[in-house]
């Protein structure tokens, strides 16, 4: 066993019919380190985690936990030997209190000493610096706090290994910092943390070591200082990364003809979701973005444009003509497409096939009484599976069994098939791998070059700067600035978001 290792996995193999998901993968986690597990979608990260937590039985290899061989047959087993997992989706009960959630399933006997439970929960929360009362109902806490409560629960169960699977994807910047502080505290206490994320910056901010997987095989384990960002990306992709610099918006501004009527123009658009009435317009061939912190109203704004939430006021013109957009179908019929922020909740129709998911929007536009023939639907699906390079076993595969990035591509295909004049993409790159992110950004620029208007929203400001020619900055439900040209840089954007309206 390697010195200081708390967990050692050797030669882990996992096969699914026809697929070798993991092939002799080694992984070592040392005491008191934060270890990033990196790889593209389908590289085997989640499979490795699932083998470790007993969700999948492994087909070969061995796991050692502090010098003992362990056989983990179920998630319960994993918990008992001290491996705790906090998933991206909160798996606690929102209708119980914080303390109840921390102790649920762990109290002995029939009787519960509520006072004791609340006070010991309170102590632990304080110790970890989690700003919440143990008696608060969990559902009323922010996602970040809920995640921290899940971590606190894990810590209290004396875990030696803490697995954080994409914990930051629904947190804003401040919440991420709080989470990182908590992770650093735990690290000092000697807990080994496995951190799975798609955010490169976060890896470099908080991790000590990186293990990279690709196509179910181990690429290598690196100390963070030895692996610059560009190299990490090229290791993950397995090729020299055709640099993000490829993506440029040069000449974009010239192409847009501002003398023409805007494709979409809203005046005083008023929704019911807590945003102030706002004006907005976009021209043909333009890519613009909405930015701001989580909860600033950027998603609510585009939802109002699409009619996803109730719109109560304002006028909308498309190509200069006044139109009424009150519900999604109205927007779709006027050539607006909207890829929603929450892929799982609002995007995919999980049990339906990839094909049905692709044709859905166009089919609805065509009408209830005019279904596409099977052959036609297959042609559509085939075309977009090839065009966007969607990795799926077949058209008939339920979309829920695809990886996140491929699910996102299917939703993208759905809206491209609808052939919009104005495409709204809300966080299309969230939770997907670097390669697909670049593909999507390139696609956005290509669509703009073809004369479509695109609104592109991303929490990664880099991405926005690369793709958008104009940024609308929001704070507290209000548009607080509009940046373009030379103003489109990290500092200026940050300053505007933070409130330096100069």
């Amino acid at each position: 066993m390697i010195e200081g290792a708390v967990l050692e996995m050797r030669g882990i193999c996992k096969y699914f019919p026809g697929v070798r998901a993991l092939e002799k993968v080694d992984f070592t986690l040392r005491e008191g380190e934060i270890h990033a597990l990196m790889g593209e979608n389908g590289a085997g990260k989640s499979t490795l985690i699932k083998v470790l937590t007993g969700v999948y039985p492994m087909d070969g290899g061995e796991v050692m936990l502090s010098d003992h061989f362990v056989h983990i047959r179920s998630p319960q087993d994993a918990q008992n030997v001290g491996i705790a997992t906090v998933y991206q989706e909160i798996t606690l009960c929102p209708n119980l209190t914080v303390a109840e959630n921390m102790y649920i399933g762990r109290t002995k006997g029939v009787l519960t000493d509520w006072r004791m439970m609340n006070s010991s929960a309170g102590r632990l929360l304080e110790e970890l610096g989690i700003p919440v009362s143990p008696k608060e109902q969990l559902g009323n806490c922010s996602i970040a706090v809920q995640q921290m409560v899940a971590i606190a629960r894990a810590v209290d169960m004396d875990c030696k290994v803490l697995i954080l699977d994409e914990p930051t994807s629904s947190l804003d910047e401040q919440e991420v910092q709080k989470l990182f502080n908590l992770m650093r505290d735990l690290k000092k206490k000697g807990v080994g943390i496995i951190f799975v994320t798609h955010f490169l910056e976060q890896v470099y901010e908080v991790c000590d070591r990186i293990t990279v997987l690709r196509d179910g095989k181990l690429v290598g384990e690196y100390v963070i200082e030895d692996l610059p960002r560009v190299q990490l990306v090229s290791k993950m992709l397995g090729k020299d990364f055709d640099d993000m610099a490829d993506i440029k918006t040069e000449g974009d501004a010239d192409r847009i003809d501002l003398s023409e009527l805007p494709v979409y123009q809203a005046n005083n658009l008023t929704g019911t979701t807590g945003i102030k009435p706002f004006d907005f317009e976009i021209h043909a061939g333009e890519v613009n973005g909405f930015t701001g912190l989580l909860g600033s109203g950027r998603s609510e704004s585009v939802r109002a444009i699409f009619g996803a939430d109730r719109v109560v006021g304002g006028t909308v013109k498309m190509h200069g003509k006044t139109v009424k957009i009150r519900k999604p179908l109205d927007a779709m019929k006027h050539g607006i497409s909207y890829l929603p922020e929450d892929r799982k909740l609002d995007g995919i129709v999980g049990d339906l096939s990839v094909r049905d998911n692709i044709i859905l929007a166009l089919q609805v536009m065509k009408g209830f009484f005019r279904p596409f023939s099977r052959a036609q639907a297959e042609r559509f699906a085939d075309y977009y599976i090839k065009l966007l390079n969607i990795k799926t076993a077949s058209q008939d595969t339920p979309i829920k069994s695809l990886s996140g990035g491929n699910q996102q591509k299917v939703i993208l295909a759905r809206w491209l098939l609808a052939d919009p004049v104005y495409l709204i993409l809300d966080e299309p790159t969230r939770g997907i791998d670097v390669g697909t992110k670049v593909e999507i950004q390139k696609l956005v620029l290509k669509l703009a070059a073809e004369g479509k208007s695109v609104t592109f929203i991303s929490s990664e400001i880099d991405e926005m700067i690369r793709t958008c020619s104009r940024l609308i900055v929001m704070r507290d439900g209000k548009v607080v600035g509009e940046l373009k040209g030379d103003d489109l840089n990290q500092n200026k954007i940050m300053a505007t978001i933070a409130g330096g309206e100069s």
């Binding site: 193999c13 096969y15 699914f16 019919p17 026809g18 070798r20 039985p57 087909d59 070969g60 699409f306 996803a308 519900k327 999604p328 179908l329 779709m332 909207y338 929603p340 909740l345 609002d346 995007g347 995919i348 129709v349 999980g350 049990d351 339906l352 049905d356 859905l360 929007a361 089919q363 609805v364 536009m365 009408g367 209830f368 009484f369 005019r370 279904p371 759905r414």
Partner: protein
């Protein structure tokens, strides 16, 4: 690498045929039907040393018609109502993720409506006139049942009440409403022509409900083929929020599914009252809602909504009727029959449960994976 992949895929294809059959949604209802047939064959040979159970003969009925009779005919005839309800119940289940438990009571309402109209006409009116009366009465009952369906659907779609709770209202009140429609009179229609829909039409040896069911099955098959009903209700049942963002109105689709079930109920009502030319409000179509839900479950459909297989549901209805008839022939007393039925049903439901299916699939996968693994190891060695 490539030889290994070939090995995996060939071992896959050998077994995938069997696996595909087992995983097919029609497997459970068809297997259950086959089992029942085999069981009855065996019982025949052991108990009677012949195959009388399956015998179909042409013999004069009580009214003097030459009609087909035999157990199989009884099963197909008596399963008609259940099959019709299974069609509507499948759609409701798919779109709303719940079930309508008021169908038995609504059948009573539909039947009572028909009788209310028909009783006013003396038996000696001409055939054409009588047909017009029946058609009018039936259309009225379709409207009434569809309205009650819409009532259920509105509670579910607009007020977001769980389907079982929403339909509990009519489940409780329906039979009283049915009695109230006819002032709680015991009505019986003396005109033999009224019995045509639930029994035989003179000169035709096959029971009429069989034809009615076939027509309805064809209609729903055409509707599923030429509209997007399947896509919409599945999408709404799986993810209402994303359906809405794709321009579908989930409320309308849920409402529509309940209205379609209401129309199925009206057809059942006609068959039911025609069978006996009378109505007993408290007994007509008693407990049929449970059998209808069972038919959907037996068809391997997820009672939580989403994807559905209409053929499997309809087959499920025939399985249940076959089972009932089999139990009768085994001389199980009618009071005990529910208990026996429950045993068989629980077995079938467990067999078709996602848990067992997943277990079977996992076992298969593990075996394949083990094989793939050993191939890999061999190759490495």
């Amino acid at each position: 690498m490539s030889t290994n992949e070939k090995a995996i895929s060939s071992s896959n294809s050998v077994k995938s045929f069997f696996a595909k059959i087992v995983r097919n949604q029609l497997f459970i209802p068809i297997a259950a039907l086959l089992l029942l047939i085999i069981f009855n064959f065996a019982a025949d040979i052991i108990l009677h040393a012949d195959t009388s159970f399956f015998k179909i003969v042409l013999e004069p009925s009580s009214t003097g018609n030459m009609v087909l009779s035999g157990n199989l005919i009884t099963i197909i005839d008596n399963a008609s109502e259940l099959a019709l309800l299974a069609i509507g119940m499948t759609l409701v289940t798919s779109a709303s993720g719940g079930q309508d438990i008021s169908v038995g009571a609504t059948i009573a309402i539909a039947g009572s409506t028909i009788l209310r109209i028909v009783k006013g006409y003396s038996p000696d009116i001409s055939g054409a006139k009588f047909a017009a009366v029946i058609i009018g009465a039936f259309l009225l009952s379709v409207i009434v049942s569809a309205l009650f369906g819409a009532f259920n659907g509105a509670l579910v779609a607009y007020f977001k009440i769980q389907p079982m709770v929403a339909t509990l209202i009519l489940f409780t009140a329906g039979r009283s409403i049915a009695a109230w429609i006819n002032n709680n009179d015991n009505i019986s229609i003396n005109d033999t022509r009224f019995g045509y829909f639930g029994n035989f039409i003179p000169g035709i040896p096959v029971p009429t409900p069989v034809f009615i069911t076939i027509i309805c099955i064809i209609v729903i098959a055409l509707v599923l083929k030429f509209t997007n009903l399947r896509l919409y209700s599945q999408a709404v049942g799986i993810n209402a929020s994303s359906s809405r963002l794709n321009g579908i109105n989930p409320k309308t689709i849920k409402l529509l599914s309940f209205i379609i079930l209401g129309i199925c109920v009206a057809v059942c009502g006609l068959i039911k009252v025609s069978r006996t030319s009378s109505i007993t409000y408290a007994v007509i179509a008693n407990n049929i809602e449970m059998d209808a839900i069972l038919a959907v479950a037996l068809g391997g459909n997820n009672l939580g909504g989403g994807k559905f297989n209409m053929t499997a549901s309809v087959l499920g209805a025939y399985v249940i009727q076959f089972l009932t008839t089999t139990l009768f022939r085994m001389k199980v007393s009618s009071s005990a029959i529910s208990a026996y039925k429950a045993i068989v049903v629980i077995l079938l439901i467990i067999m078709s449960s996602p848990f067992i299916r997943k277990w079977l699939a996992d076992r298969k996968n593990r075996r394949l994976a083990a094989k793939a693994g050993s191939n890999v190891r061999k190759e490495v060695a």
